[in-house]
């Protein structure tokens, strides 16, 4: 009886000892997309012109190291989604796409960078449909944490 009780207490102690082990710190912070800078482009409700080249510009920061980013422009003619921004933009009426702009591209960032202002040139073809679009910025850090920013823009 006493020996059994002792065995059981020993088991409990072993479990508790296991519980109290401390972890070495791992990165659990998300990277940050900052489009508040004066020259950041596009921002919520920006207008992109057809047949012209625009320059994307945003500041990316992370506590350890940035990973990569991707840009995605797709139509929102059916007003299917909402941007992540608080203020809304005036929307054109719903319509059926004929030749909407499809732009998807992923970009690398300098290895180990913690604070980087990214720029990318995007040419908008002259023959794409005008109207409401979404501009999605997806940013990861080295560990795979991802931050998404969705902007409502217009192509004219």
């Amino acid at each position: 009886m006493k020996r059994n009780l002792f065995t059981m207490l020993l088991l409990c102690a072993a479990v508790l000892a296991g519980c109290s082990k401390n972890d070495e710190a791992v990165d659990s912070e998300y990277p940050v997309i900052d489009i508040t800078g004066a020259d950041a482009f596009p921002v919520q409700c920006s207008v992109l012109e057809r047949g012209k080249t625009v320059t994307f510009k945003a500041r990316f920061t992370d506590n350890v190291a940035l990973g990569s980013y991707s840009l995605d422009i797709h139509h929102n003619f059916d007003h299917h989604t909402h941007s992540t921004e608080v203020n809304t933009c005036a929307e054109s009426p719903n319509k059926t796409p004929v030749k909407p702009l499809v732009f998807i591209k992923d970009y690398t960032l300098p290895a180990g960078a913690r604070d980087y202002t990214a720029t990318a040139t995007i040419s908008i073809p002259a023959d794409v449909d005008t109207g409401d679009y979404h501009f999605m910025i997806r940013l990861t850090d080295k560990e795979g944490w991802q931050t998404i920013k969705g902007l409502s823009i217009k192509i004219q």
């Binding site: 990973g67 990569s68 795979g144």
Partner: protein, 807 residues
């Protein structure tokens, strides 16, 4: 480590072989003139157990001379107690005739004694629950009803679909067995529930530990074994009606069954129908990746569903041969939370969705699962052999409005033959064969068995995630349970498995823009190539069980393995639930696991304590690793998640305490702790996804004894405290701690000889807004269901009772 365990087992053997000069009790049990098979016989209130064979016989070997108490509890019979004085080396008891309790169609007592027996006769500690337990704790699905057991969680989507998570592992790391055969659904997705009717389960047994020996690949974390209710008694006919209603999602369920049996033949049937509305959460707005979605009347938009399940079983019961056919069809259709499905959080047509909370709009899922099986067992010359064959089909469709992404055309082309709303379709057909023979050799119970299955998987729909494939597996095992002494049990087992998976090619139906040497070309991308992989594995297990008096000690060490599934080998597309691009790796190795399980317990009629710690190591855990990369060809610009393998260490424990502190009062406590850590790879130092936080479930039950006609009355108040989960791995979010109160009550009423069971539950008594770390919708911060009042009623009916003379 392993050496030391083997040494200690050997030492124990020697010590107990040295003891000799034991006595033996033999006896048999009948009802009328018929022998009763499968009845548990307890010696000294469960210190030693024996189960009667087909001739009703039982025996206890190696007893020390002295006084013993024999107890027998069997479903439908009065309990039997008797004292036996063992003075000679062989005591032959007179035939024990059990008295039938007519109208008492209750399985509780037999399950309790079965559970006690299973806990003693195994070197791993199983949890066993009865149909009555399921009804008392009825959740939206079978796994939700089992969530009060420590170490068991349900990973669910919506209110009606959930699958098991045992000690933080789930999906294809847990095997679900129904009526002896592995249930083959689409186990890989968190949105896939189990196509199982919880009303048709007679008993559920859960093993938290490696069970690869009997079940082969996949049983790394454990097994949920769903067993059919006991066969009807000879010359009886009857049935039961169960009704359930739930307030939160306005659910109603009707489940009715009927049975009849002659001496040899029997037929049983069951129909279960369920319908439920969108469920409610204590929040009016949820934030899906910072996009605010307003909820109409607190309802999670488009999560209504319905189910219709049919079961038929028939068979022949002989003295030495028994053959049972089972056929079932389970059907379910339910909606996905409309705002959180697709490529981004969606703004939905609120007027359409909110017009009715009972309709199922897009996006939705529809699953139909057919099963046909036969299980035949033979008893001859001390052998118990079993042959089981089965065919099952799982047909799953996911419906959604066409959403172009990547280079898909903006408007769904008219020439496509796939319906524009068929997002994905999976069709799986599995044919299985199981063989088993068990016999007694001295104090050894030896089992040899083998299994083989062949499966075909085809796909359809306008989007692509995993390729079509075919697969076959074969395995054989040898298992020895050696009863050294009434209190000592040693087990050893070995198993060999071989499997082959053939992946089929897949090419996009739309062209993508590919830049080659500065030229932009239109190309149909290939997402899956023809591939063949073979896997083989030898697994072993050894355990020891010591059950002196009221105590129980167990230790088991074993290995398990899992063949990578088609998704891990060949995924190459966007997962619409999580907005991410998942990429398989055709070169993955079979996942291996080594686990040490220990259990210690003390049990008396007034109180019991059980603690069950474990230590688990994976040299190559298959992990879906979120990378820093994005992909625009296959992933439509989404973040790339790649299947990789890493070393993983896990440990934890469960604690269960029961104490009857006053004559009609009892208190219970169930606590669980789990620690996961990746020791190598890209996420070294991180935990594994879906790691449940430590939690404690405390309960107080009052079982008052009322006047005649009302029995088994209980009132229970339960309080769950779950700690915060701050150890996370991308893309998880930390989950704050929470407290939850549940109330339940029930009784059995007898009116004119007709029993009626009533159960009432109030889940989430205070309508607490909390997040569950293992919920599918945790990532989009959707709170769990609010207050839910559940009322269940069960009326067992006996049309034809066994003739009084024959009992």
């Amino acid at each position: 480590m392993q050496k030391r365990i083997v040494c200690s087992i050997l030492l124990c053997c020697i010590a107990f072989l040295a003891k000799a000069q034991h006595s033996r009790i033999v006896g048999s049990i009948v009802s009328g003139s018929k022998p009763l098979a499968g009845v548990a016989v307890l010696l000294n209130h469960g210190q030693v157990l024996s189960v009667t064979d087909s001739l009703g016989g039982f025996y206890f070997n190696q007893l020390v001379k002295g006084r013993y108490v024999i107890t027998i509890q069997a479903a439908g019979y009065e309990a039997y107690h008797n004292r036996v004085l063992v003075a000679d080396t062989l005591i032959k008891l007179p035939v024990i005739a059990l008295k039938s309790k007519i109208n008492q169609l209750e399985e509780v007592t037999v399950v309790n004694s079965y559970a006690t027996m299973r806990k003693r006769e195994s070197t791993l500690l199983p949890d066993v629950v009865s149909q009555d337990y399921l009804l008392r704790n009825s959740g939206g699905s079978l796994m939700k009803s089992l969530e009060k057991l420590p170490g068991i969680k349900a990973i669910g989507i919506g209110s009606g679909n959930a699958k098991p998570l045992i000690r933080g592992l789930g999906f294809n790391q847990v095997v679900v067995v129904e009526n002896g055969m592995k249930h083959e659904g689409q186990q890989w997705g968190a949105d896939h529930g189990l196509e199982i009717d919880q009303y048709a389960a007679g008993r559920v047994e859960i093993v938290k530990g490696p069970a690869a020996i009997i079940h082969g690949s996949d049983a790394i974390a454990g097994v949920v074994d769903i067993q059919a209710p006991a066969l009807p008694e000879p010359h009886t006919s009857g049935g039961a009606v169960a009704l359930t209603g739930k307030s939160n999602n306005a659910l109603w369920t009707v489940s009715a069954n009927a049975f009849t049996r002659t001496q040899r033949w029997f037929v049983t049937g069951r129909v279960t129908a369920t319908e439920y509305a969108d469920y409610r959460v204590p929040a009016d707005t949820v934030y899906i990746y910072s996009y605010a979605a307003a909820l109409h009347k607190n309802r999670v938009r488009n999560t209504a569903g319905r189910e219709l399940n049919l079961h038929v079983s028939t068979g022949w019961v002989g003295n030495n041969v028994q053959s049972v056919f089972n056929a079932s069809r389970t059907y379910s259709r339910s909606g996905f939370f409309a705002n959180a499905h697709g490529l981004e959080p969606r703004r939905v047509d609120a007027a359409l969705h909110d017009a009715s909370d009972r309709d199922i709009q897009l996006p939705s899922q529809e699953v139909v699962h057919y099963k046909l099986m036969n299980r035949t067992s033979f008893q001859f010359a001390g052998h118990r052999a079993e042959v089981q064959v089965g065919v099952q089909q799982n047909f799953r469709q996911e419906w959604n409005r066409y959403v172009n992404h990547g280079y898909m055309p903006a408007v769904y082309p008219a020439h496509m033959t796939i319906p524009s709303t068929l997002e994905r379709q999976y069709d799986k057909t599995v044919t299985s064969l199981l063989l088993k023979d068990e016999w007694q050799w001295g104090n050894h119970t030896i089992t040899v068995g083998g299994s083989g299955d062949y499966q075909r998987n085809s796909i359809d729909g306008w989007s692509f995630l995993i390729p079509a494939f075919t697969q076959w597996n074969a395995g054989a095992y040898l298992y020895d349970k050696w009863k050294l002494h009434p209190q000592w049990l040693v087990s050893a087992a070995v198993r060999y498995d071989y499997g082959q998976i053939r992946m089929k090619p897949y090419t996009d139906w739309f062209a993508s823009e590919v830049v080659n040497n500065g030229d932009t070309m239109q190309q149909f991308l290939s997402r899956s190539q023809q591939a063949l992989r073979s896997f083989s594995s030898v697994n072993w297990s050894a355990g020891i069980s010591h059950t002196p008096g009221n105590w129980l000690f167990k230790m088991n060490v074993g290995s398990s393995f899992r063949m990578p599934i088609a998704k891990e080998l060949g995924a190459n597309g966007v997962n619409y639930h999580y907005f991410r691009y998942e990429k398989g790796n055709i070169n993955l190795n079979a996942e291996r696991s080594y686990q040490l399980d220990v259990a210690a317990g003390w049990n008396s009629s007034k109180a019991s304590v059980t603690i069950s710690p474990f230590l688990n190591y994976f040299p190559n855990y298959i992990f879906l690793n979120p990378t820093a990369a994005h992909d625009y060809y296959y992933g439509a610009g989404n973040q790339v998640f790649e299947y990789t393998q890493s070393r993983v260490m896990r440990y934890g424990a469960e604690l269960q305490v029961r104490y009857d502190f006053l004559p009609h009062w009892s208190a219970s406590l169930a606590a669980e702790y789990l620690y996961n850590r990746q020791l190598s790879g890209g996420k070294k130092g991180y935990t594994l996804p879906f790691t449940p936080p430590p939690s404690v479930l405390t309960g107080v039950t009052w079982r008052p004894a009322f006047r005649k006609g009302v029995s088994d009355t209980y009132f229970t108040l339960e309080w769950r405290v779950a700690a915060a989960q701050n150890r996370i791995v991308p893309p998880e979010r930390t989950t704050p701690s929470y407290q939850l109160f549940d109330f339940s009550a029930g009784t059995r009423m007898l009116t004119k000889g007709q029993p009626i069971y009533v159960h009432l539950q109030v889940q989430n008594l205070f309508n607490t807004n909390y997040l569950n770390h293992t919920s599918f919708y945790r990532l989009i911060a959707l709170p769990e269901a609010g207050r839910n009042i559940v009322l269940s009623l069960r009326v067992p009916l006996l049309w034809k009772a066994p003739a009084a003379g024959s009992n």
